[in-house]
Amino acid sequence: MKIKVVKDILGANEQIAERNRQLLDSKGVLAVNLMSSPGAGKTSLILETIKRLKGKTRLGIIEGDVSSSLDAEVIGKEGVPVVQINTGGGCHLDANMTHSALGNMPLQDIELLLIENVGNLICPAEFALGEHKKVLISSIPEGDDKPFKYPSMFHKADVVLINKIDLLPYLKFDTDAFSQAIRGINERAEIFQISCATGQGIEKWVSWLLTQMSRRQS
């Protein structure tokens, strides 16, 4: 006997993600899912963002990168609430792990939640966490052909940050071609060029974050 099913395999994850989103909404928290290859600059971006927003915006951080708890320790020193997720070697965060992390986060004291996903350009793309915005960091040393190799990630991103532009004089990277490739399959993506080393362009990224937050409050 053949049974018609037509059920989304990630449907259960989507449902939990939706519940996370409702929880975040009820507390007035904007959640941003930061995704990239290992070493593209997720932790550096979080630190730069904290530097600019500390004292002005109440931040919270979820650290999902599996490499170690080092990132969480560095961020903890900044005096910002941080919850480390241990994926047990898993290659992505999922809605369930995020749900547990949210339980350990003082949500009533937070306006902006930055989630550092596991360093990986394939798996995290498929798993919603309950975030409001997806941000993809791509860095100059990785080369300008990344959109072609990981279309799903680039297709879903609300923002693409091109990081490490301080290295542009030394490496071959065509930022115009790169941006055009992304725009080809994702019209609405915002693309910013930044350097976490020199601070160049970070201002624009931060003002994008603030705009998203004020939009939600109005």
């Binding site: 006997m1 053949k2 049974i3 018609k4 099913v5 037509v6 059920k7 989304d8 395999i9 990630l10 449907g11 259960a12 994850n13 898993g90 290659c91 992505h92 999922d94 990986n120 394939i122 798996c123 793309a125 498929e126 798993f127 052909d145 959109p147 072609f148 190799k149 990981y150 279309p151 799903s152 297709h155 055009q180 490739a181 725009r183 080809g184 399959i185 019209e187």
Partner: protein
């Protein structure tokens, strides 16, 4: 690597449906997987063999229907398969398109006894 989580969710759906139908055994599972998801059939098969042991789906055949990444050109409205390193429309050379297929990831049907 996300195949482990995906295979577990897939198996959950299959077992729930099989139980609902009062099935003794699942003979075949028909999956539809878009190329854009990056899901590798062999990995799903590998995890399935492991995870399904001792369940009514143990030994079931997996059938994979792969859906190529397909775009529709916003310039000329024609649809085409997206090539790996060339994202221009083969009809008008435009480079603004909408992804219309390739993101699928679902259990289409199961065959049970």
């Amino acid at each position: 690597m996300h195949e482990l989580a995906i295979t577990q969710s897939m198996l959950d759906i299959v077992l729930e449906q099989a139980e609902k139908a009062g099935a003794r055994e699942v003979g075949k599972i028909n999956l539809v997987i878009g190329e854009m998801t990056g899901v590798v059939d062999e990995c799903v098969q590998f995890y399935f063999d492991f995870l399904s042991k001792g369940t009514s789906a143990e030994g079931a055949a997996l059938s994979f229907t792969k859906v190529p990444t397909t775009a529709r050109c916003r310039g000329c409205d024609k649809a085409f398969e997206l090539k790996e390193f060339d994202w221009t429309c083969p009809y008008c050379q435009g480079n603004n398109m909408e992804i219309v297929a390739g993101k699928e990831l679902f259990v289409e049907s199961i065959e049970v006894e």
